[in-house]
Subunit: 194 residues, 2 copies
DNA sequence: TATCTAATTAGATATATATCTAATTAGTTG
DNA sequence: CAACTAATTAGATATATATCTAATTAGATA
């Protein structure tokens, strides 16, 4: 939804007379003169506001004989209300992702030296997975590696390549077939359950 | 929620600059000059808008050293979004009740003569229950009736008081003990399942 | 077709407000 | 306390708009 449409909608309902009309119509359809009477305003004024309400599609009309009844369209109102919610919820999701990222970064800062070597393998499962995933970064998805290549890669981080290589397999980050290693797609990895 | 508060809130967010500020702040807090820079406006203008945003409590501030950071308060925005939804949903409930009432009235008009006598007992269960409940109206809750009194009451609507009296009992509208009849409370009645 | 009525339009007026520049305030830091 | 800076306030201007009265239009009905 473009910003402009939201602005127009909220400007439209951000008026006491128009909100009163909405409330009135929420009880059922009414014709212009009736609305004017109930609100103590002239028909011309009501026309003015109805035009704006129609412009944002929250009101439609239907003729019955000589008089025109105006109806509220609740679904449109609900639609914009949800758009407003999204405007802030989108933010919540982003904030959550950001927090997760910060948390992971903290773990990585703690377990790797400034020149990028792993100090030791974390005991906590959650932290261990973060560390393993960090060491996975240099490997390319789809590329096939020999065991020797994998060992060399791991040794850039830590001497005990055997343990770490085993962890890669056990936690489903990679699979091995005939001594050839390959990255699994992320959706197959062991997820960190909070 | 008073109408006035809703109007003020929607008027506040019904402005392009303010909605842009809200969107910006939904990514994270910012200080005044930063907002002014990103929107291409002067700090004075930003102050003007922030004042209005604070007035409706969707923005709060926190000082860090020499600069003041402005934060969005998503819960307040969500609160008003829900109030907007309620404005239309309240209507849906009322409309439903009204429709049910109209439906019942139609059945009653069909099965009773203009002088209030029952033409015949409806075959459809749903309609029968509406008719029975209509004939229950003259009886007082809590009052104890003899069988003869019940019969007299029913005879005002229809000759076959025995059948109807039995229906009253079978559908749990009344109970009988030692030949004394009494109305059950409505929550015990047979409900009409659509 | 002529007439009636609800709705709309046109035009006037008063009020509200978004924005700017310039001056001032509040608060931090040396 | 003095100097600095971000934020606010004051005042001016231009634009938007809510409301009214009076005139006009659109549509239904006799």
């Amino acid at each position: 939804m473009q910003l402009h449409r939201l602005v127009t909608f909220f400007k439209t309902i951000g008026d006491p007379t128009r909100l009163r009309i909405i409330k009135l119509l929420s009880q059922g359809p009414l014709h212009g003169q009736a609305i004017a009477g109930k609100l103590g305003l002239t028909p011309a004024t009501i026309t003015h506001h109805l035009k704006k309400l129609r412009d944002v599609n929250i009101v439609y009309e239907r003729r019955d004989g000589n008089i025109i009844y105006f109806y509220l369209q609740p679904s449109v109102v609900q639609h914009y209300a949800h758009a407003l919610l999204d405007l802030t919820e989108q933010n919540e999701v982003k904030k959550e992702m950001k927090e997760k990222f910060v948390e992971r970064q903290k773990v990585i800062d703690n377990f790797f030296t400034s020149d990028g070597r792993l100090k030791n393998i974390p005991a906590q499962r959650k932290k261990k997975l973060i560390v393993l995933e960090h060491m996975l970064k240099g490997l390319k998805p789809g590329k096939r590696y020999t065991e020797k290549e994998i060992n060399e890669h791991i040794k850039k981080f830590h001497e005990d390549y055997a343990t770490i290589r085993r962890e890669f397999i056990m936690n489903n980050y990679m699979y091995r077939e005939n001594g050839i290693y390959e990255l699994n797609p992320p959706e197959m990895w062991h997820k960190i359950d909070e």
